[in-house]
Subunit: 230 residues, 2 copies
DNA sequence: AAAAATCTTAAGACTTTCTTAAGTTCCGCG
DNA sequence: CGCGGAACTTAAGAAAGTCTTAAGATTTTT
């Protein structure tokens, strides 16, 4: 269960954190949001493969949020709620949720359900909302095969190099600070990691650029970070 | 919700009939089976798009039956059980069930879950997203005969070897981490299984590759996993 | 009981990652 | 303009991690 991002939406920090700990343990990355509004923001910022969502929340509740998400994307949603009355379950499933877990819940059950849904997605081959193939002026990325090619010629990247390229290519033109890059690729807070990232950028340029000194694809934005040219 | 066949497996006639009435009302056709053995028979006789299965049954129980079915097909299975203990839920989901409903259940909830699963299938476009015969540059896989051949010459694989090959060949070009492979073939969380998988990969290469040291089909993607070349 | 299949261990080859340190470019300010 | 410092680039090698392979122990099947 690698490389999956799960968005956990709940107004209680303890619950979010608890779920995060369990999912991390399974190699799943967790992104947290406190309410529906925040959830929709996070959804725009990064690829999310599954959502665990509380129903009772301030601002925008779980049912409404599910509705809004369903208008755009087909990500699996697991509803989490204190209410255990049947009508709510039925409502949750009818509006397009894929599963339903009632509080208090056994963490193992939630994890099993999360994994069950994610497994289904692997089987399908594509996760919705995540494009599997990107082409930027001849530089191509195949997320399934984890393959990068330049004008059709496959480029051999190391795992870290690949992840950096995938991140940058997934959001063409968007600038990522060294810190952003570090945290998203290494999935841990960055500390003194400036050069580490820089070295990898160098290696990547060596492989994907015709003239690494005058990069055409992987550009620096002085004082801010790096980006992949659109 | 038309043209769907749902197999209801339970030893109590009243339950089977009750479910049938509700599902029929939704335009869904129901096929009944009294136990696991009968279920497997019905599965062979006609197209079934979803299974609702009790756990406690004579002859062949629900968990074992689910296991047997999963070896062959990828139909959605909803487990139905009197036990509501968490461990059973987790077990049910882990062995490959897609959902879990505890008795006594609200018929409306069961129907909602059935429809939710079926809806997913409609979305997918295919009932069974699995092709039965695959040919990748001369390496062929026949899922019905469980046979792998290279340029027509049948290759003798052990069960585990076969499952690994089937997994990889079913998604050509897609990279699977060792963990993914382990979890999907062994159907249990992987722990210290790195070498186990590696050894099987080795054996497979010995059998399907002309030059195992320079594999043409079963490739490694450094630091990430293995894949079958498209 | 023999044969086949699976798992474990471990060593060596190979690849990747990180660190350090030095070089270069860019930007603002006198 | 050109100087100084900050930001970025580059190189090289040590450390860490991954993959392959072999051999034998254990379990399962025949």
């Amino acid at each position: 269960m690698n490389d999956f991002n799960v968005l956990v939406v709940d107004d209680e920090k303890e619950i979010r954190d608890a779920i995060e700990i369990y999912l991390k343990n399974e190699g799943i990355t967790v992104v947290q949001a406190r309410d529906g509004i925040e959830a929709l923001e996070k959804l725009d910022e990064q690829p999310i493969h599954l959502i665990v969502m509380d129903i009772m929340m301030p601002k925008l509740d779980g049912i409404s949020t599910t509705f809004k998400i369903r208008e755009q994307k087909n990500i699996p949603i697991i509803i989490l709620s204190a209410k255990s009355e049947d009508t709510d379950k039925v409502l949750g499933l009818q509006i397009g949720a894929d599963d339903y877990v009632t509080k208090p819940f056994n963490p193992l059950e939630l994890i099993a359900r999360v994994k069950s849904q994610l497994r289904r997605y692997i089987t399908l081959g594509t996760y919705e909302g995540k494009r599997n193939f990107i082409d930027l002026n001849g530089l191509t990325l195949d997320k399934e095969a984890k393959e990068v090619a330049i004008n059709g010629d496959s480029v051999k990247l190391t795992p870290i190099e690949y992840k950096i390229v995938e991140l940058l290519m997934s959001y063409p033109g968007r600038v990522f600070s060294i810190n952003d890059i570090y945290e998203r690729v290494w999935k841990e807070p960055s500390y003194n990691a400036e050069n580490t990232v820089a070295v990898h950028i160098r290696k990547i340029r060596e492989k994907i650029e015709i003239d690494p000194k005058n990069p055409r694809y992987l550009k620096v934005v002085w004082g801010i970070g790096y980006k992949m040219e659109k």
